[in-house]
């Protein structure tokens, strides 16, 4: 389509012609996405990008993302960075690519992966596996009484089951349907010994939800010694519930936000899988800027259908056979700072 | 199934009216009772209404007049008692049932829809459709026709001051609103018309026209129940007068058998009507 006409309106100060890029996250309240937005904003100037930030109104808001994609096309942007909500937005992404925009998925690989030009993501499954392995190693054969603090119970979203099921796989538990939380056998064997799953509770990924969820689990079984949490705010809430009962348990989580790493250091969280939203945004933006100026496209990581921005297990109590970094190291690079 | 007739309770009915009372009552209530928690609304009331008569119901405030006619017209479900229409027992679950059976009522609270205009209110639940396929297939309302006829009906009751017939009835004056409700009952009543204080908010001239309308309905062979606190109106229009007192019936009189003063005395309990009190 026509590209020049819209730029007149955006009151272009500065030297070279700016290229328009839209970053579309799932929502604007999850700290993970807020960090991603901040990082992108900081990088926009460097790459001579005119950045517009958009998002769904909440998790599950496919329509909000579809609208944002269409608006990016209408605005005459050159590229889109998106954490796709679900495959409900695939059609809109296709429309954008047909209109000549370069589309990069961040954080969540779309299904199928070739929906977008390339994905910069962490493998959430892998992130889950790492903390699962760490938990199994730390228990040293002790019976695992597990609480699973998931994200939602009224929505099914891919982060939710990838992290939860990844964690269980890491522990060596048979997950039955790998895209379904809560369908595994309530008791059985993990790689080190017996396990019992006490609960799957939704936490909404926030402190208050995490606390309420953990309280319910403890009311069911006060011997819980392993707590999986969808993210670190939920972990903080779970810890508050444990403390109030005077209990201790291994808490594992995913995200690796700076506050989360702090919780690892203070011992609240045993281990967390660190992801790098800033890095995703930075790489994505650089790629689009490069392509817009005639450069080459980035390539996917070997063996994967996306560019892996990496996961690192952050813990101060390393376990044999699971490579990890310390909390201090994690704090330096938290979320890609 | 038909109930035994109540004694007419008065023998002051003029001979030219006697034939009215030879027929079966069109609407009867037997032993009607209603109660809300502690509060007794009706305490076993009997009533017979005949075709071609105006039966007035008078009584103190709170005597149960409105409650009585609400029970008769399906607005309330009495706790006990039977209602007979044309000699057959009926069970009105809603006002709509009574309306469909030919009983049209003006309730004391008027029951008009504030946001709708005069014509819409007058024809509510009686809408007329356009002629031709627009009406039969598309079910389009004959708005113009209804508006015209509604205007005529209201003006026939002496209401001249409505400047804009499209006004929502909430913007009408109290009397204008009452006229809409009365006009509706007059237009659609086929067997029985019940009027609960239909002239309370009306002016002198308008009240007179409503009284004329009531007589007209009676002369057309309908049964009319008229509740009113205006004794001159009652004595002018009524054939018989049912006196309601403290939730029960204190007796039935005629304008010829008792004068207004006596009627009021019975109504307020200053005097007792011992002879001829219906069972």
């Amino acid at each position: 389509g026509d590209s020049g006409s819209g730029d007149a309106a955006s009151g272009g100060s500065g030297g070279g012609k700016k290229i328009g890029v839209t970053l579309i996250t799932k929502d604007s309240t999850n700290p993970f996405f807020v960090a991603m937005q901040k990082g992108a904003q900081a990088d926009a100037g460097k790459n001579n990008v005119e950045l517009t930030i958009a998002s769904g109104k909440q998790e599950g808001d496919d329509q909000g993302q579809i609208d944002a994609i269409e608006q990016a096309i209408a605005r005459g942007d050159k590229g889109i960075l998106i954490t796709p909500m679900s495959d409900g937005v695939n059609a809109a992404i296709k429309k954008a690519r047909d209109a000549g925009l370069y589309v990069i998925a961040l954080d969540t690989p779309p299904d199928p992966a070739d929906t977008v030009d390339i994905t910069f993501a962490t493998d959430n499954r892998e992130a889950g596996k790492l903390i699962g392995q760490w938990a199994a190693g730390t228990l040293k054969g002790e019976k695992a009484t597990i609480a699973l603090l998931d994200l939602f119970n009224d929505k099914i979203v891919s982060v939710d089951y990838n992290r939860d099921q990844g964690f269980l796989e890491g522990m060596g538990i048979d997950v039955a349907d790998g895209k379904k939380n809560g369908d595994e056998a309530p008791t059985g064997k993990y790689s080190g010994g017996d396990y019992e799953i006490v609960c799957n509770e939704p936490s909404n990924g926030a402190e208050d939800g995490g606390r309420t969820a953990m309280e319910k689990c403890l009311a069911k079984n006060s011997n819980i010694n392993v707590v999986y949490t969808i993210n670190e705010p939920a972990a903080v809430g779970a810890n508050a519930a444990l403390q109030a009962e005077g209990k201790k348990a291994l808490i594992v989580s995913v995200d690796g936000g700076c506050a989360g790493v702090g919780s690892v250091k203070s011992g609240v969280i045993g281990a967390t899988s660190q992801q790098y939203p800033l890095k995703m945004a930075t790489l994505g933006m650089e790629a689009i800027a490069k392509i817009a100026n005639g450069g080459a496209k980035p390539a996917v990581s070997e063996g994967l259908d996306f560019f892996n921005t990496g996961v690192a297990l952050v813990t101060d109590k390393p376990v044999d056979g699971v490579s990890s970094i310390t909390a201090d190291e994690g704090a330096k690079i938290c979320w890609g700072n | 199934m038909a109930p035994s007739k109540l004694p007419l309770a008065v023998d002051h009915i003029p001979s030219e009216k006697r034939h009215v009372y030879d027929a079966e009552p069109i609407l009867s209530g037997r032993d009607l009772r209603i109660q809300w928690g502690h509060v007794v609304g009706l305490d076993g009331v009997n009533l017979d209404l005949y075709k071609g008569e105006v039966l007035a119901v008078i009584g103190d405030n709170g005597a149960g007049k409105s409650t009585l006619i609400k029970c008769l017209t399906g607005a309330y479900q009495p706790t006990a008692g039977q209602i007979y229409l044309d000699g057959k027992e009926v069970d009105f679950k809603r006002p709509q049932d009574a309306r469909e059976a030919g009983i049209e009522t003006v309730y004391q609270q008027l029951a008009v829809i504030p946001a709708l205009d005069i014509a819409s209110n007058l024809y509510l639940a009686r809408e007329e459709r356009r002629p031709g396929p627009l009406g039969s297939v598309l079910r389009m309302l004959d708005k113009k026709g209804m508006a015209k006829r509604a205007g005529d009906s209201v003006r026939e009751l002496g209401i001249q001051t409505i400047q804009n017939m499209n006004l929502a009835v909430e913007n009408l004056s109290g009397g204008q609103r009452q006229a809409v409700a009365v006009a509706r009952a007059a237009a659609f009543g086929s067997k029985v018309v019940v009027l609960d204080e239909p002239t309370a908010a009306l002016g002198v001239k308008e009240s007179g026209m409503v009284l004329d309308m009531i007589k007209q309905l009676r002369d057309n062979g309908l049964g009319v129940i008229l509740i009113s606190h205006n004794m001159p109106h009652v004595w002018e229009a009524a054939d018989r007068i049912h006196i309601q007192r403290l939730g029960g019936c204190a007796g039935v009189i005629t304008p010829a058998s008792h004068d207004m003063g006596e009627g009021v005395a019975i109504m307020t309990g200053a005097k007792k009507l011992t002879q001829d009190t219906p069972a």
Binding site: S5, A9, E59, Q63 | -
Partner: protein, 339 residues
């Protein structure tokens, strides 16, 4: 008597009307004119901010983006006119969509049949709401809050949480996403369907007896009952028709998204209610016009679209939308009151 009539008439109506008075009269008879003014003003402002807003292409997109919420808001308007509220709009639409798609997936069932079954299901869901409201006399808020959970859970359990892509669906189910262009203005069949829905329901509300009953039941339920309006039946029909309309929205949504997803449109409730209220319909029932709802939906979506084209970032956009909603309805109030 006749003299006094003409006297009254002449006394009252022989006045001159100023243009402003005429405008006021107009606003009184057509209360949706005032939101329309707001819509036009915001169009102008957004075009100044970014001229691309006024292009045919953008307008086509705006209509497509508005279509789904506008469709849901029809049913919501009916329910709100009866002084109810429907929190299950989104849940019914999603359930119906998932059933349509699952039945038709990879040729399991012909598209039209799957669509009809999904439509019937949505209608049945609306009927269930209606039965609970009319038979058990539950407040609509509670009923639809409950069925919101119920239908959401069923949709999730039924679909297993996974979405179905357009490529697995018959053309018939995807058809509403296709369309045609008139001089650059691309409209989809879905948009057209929604326009037809507005026309039909608008006609029914304003031209038939049933429409009157809807207003009467909402404005003063007791008076409506005493007037002989079959209130319960009307209420039941309103919820049922609303369900049917949500089912049609579900069909349109498959075409628009190019997929059937069980988590779609979580904010459908709030968005549809917002369109109704901005369109001037009272949450207390009995007052409002359907066309206002359409304008309301367009206002909200054009804010989102316009702010996005103006390059306002998400968080500031949330802020700006909040302010704009208040300002828009404030101006609306002011226009109505001007003397």
């Amino acid at each position: 008597m006749t003299t006094s009539t003409s006297d009254a008439a002449s006394r009252f109506s022989g006045r001159q009307q100023s243009p402003l008075q005429r405008l006021q009269g107009l606003l009184h008879s057509y209360p949706w004119v005032s939101p329309l003014v707001i819509l036009i003003v915001s169009f102008i402002v957004f075009t100044i901010l970014n001229p691309r807003f006024a292009t045919a292409g953008s307008m086509g997109l705006l209509f497509q983006q508005t279509a789904i919420v506008a469709a849901l808001a029809i049913g919501q308007t009916l329910v709100i006119l009866t002084a109810g509220i429907d929190l299950s709009v989104g849940a019914i639409m999603v359930l119906s969509m998932m059933v349509m798609a699952a039945l038709a997936k990879d040729g399991g069932m012909p598209g039209p049949l799957a669509m009809l079954i999904g439509l019937a299901l949505a209608t049945g869901a609306g009927l269930l709401n209606g039965l609970l409201v009319t038979r058990i006399n539950l407040p609509p808020f509670i009923v639809t809050l409950g069925t919101l959970s119920i239908f959401t859970a069923i949709a999730l359990l039924y679909s297993g949480g996974s979405s179905i892509q357009a490529s697995h669906l018959p053309d018939f189910l995807n058809a509403l996403g296709n369309g045609f262009s008139i001089g650059g203005l691309r409209l989809t069949w879905g948009v057209l369907l929604v326009i037809v829905m507005y026309a039909v329901v608008g006609f029914i509300l304003s031209q038939t007896a049933w429409g009157r009953y809807v207003y009467a039941v909402g404005d003063d339920p007791e008076s409506a009952r005493l007037s002989g309006v079959p209130s319960k039946r009307v209420l039941l029909q309103v919820y049922t028709v609303a369900g049917l309309l949500y089912g049609l929205a579900a069909w349109a949504l498959i075409g628009r998204s190019g997929a059937a997803t069980p988590n779609a449109y979580p904010q459908a409730n709030l968005d549809s209610i917002t369109a109704v209220v901005i369109g001037g319909t009272s949450l207390f029932g009995g007052r409002g016009r359907l066309v206002g709802t359409l304008i309301g939906a367009l206002i909200v979506q054009s804010f989102a679209f316009g702010l996005s084209l103006a390059g306002v970032n998400q968080q500031y956009r949330v802020l700006a939308t909040g302010i704009l909603v208040i300002v828009a309805v404030g101006i609306d109030q002011w226009i109505r009151k001007v003397k």
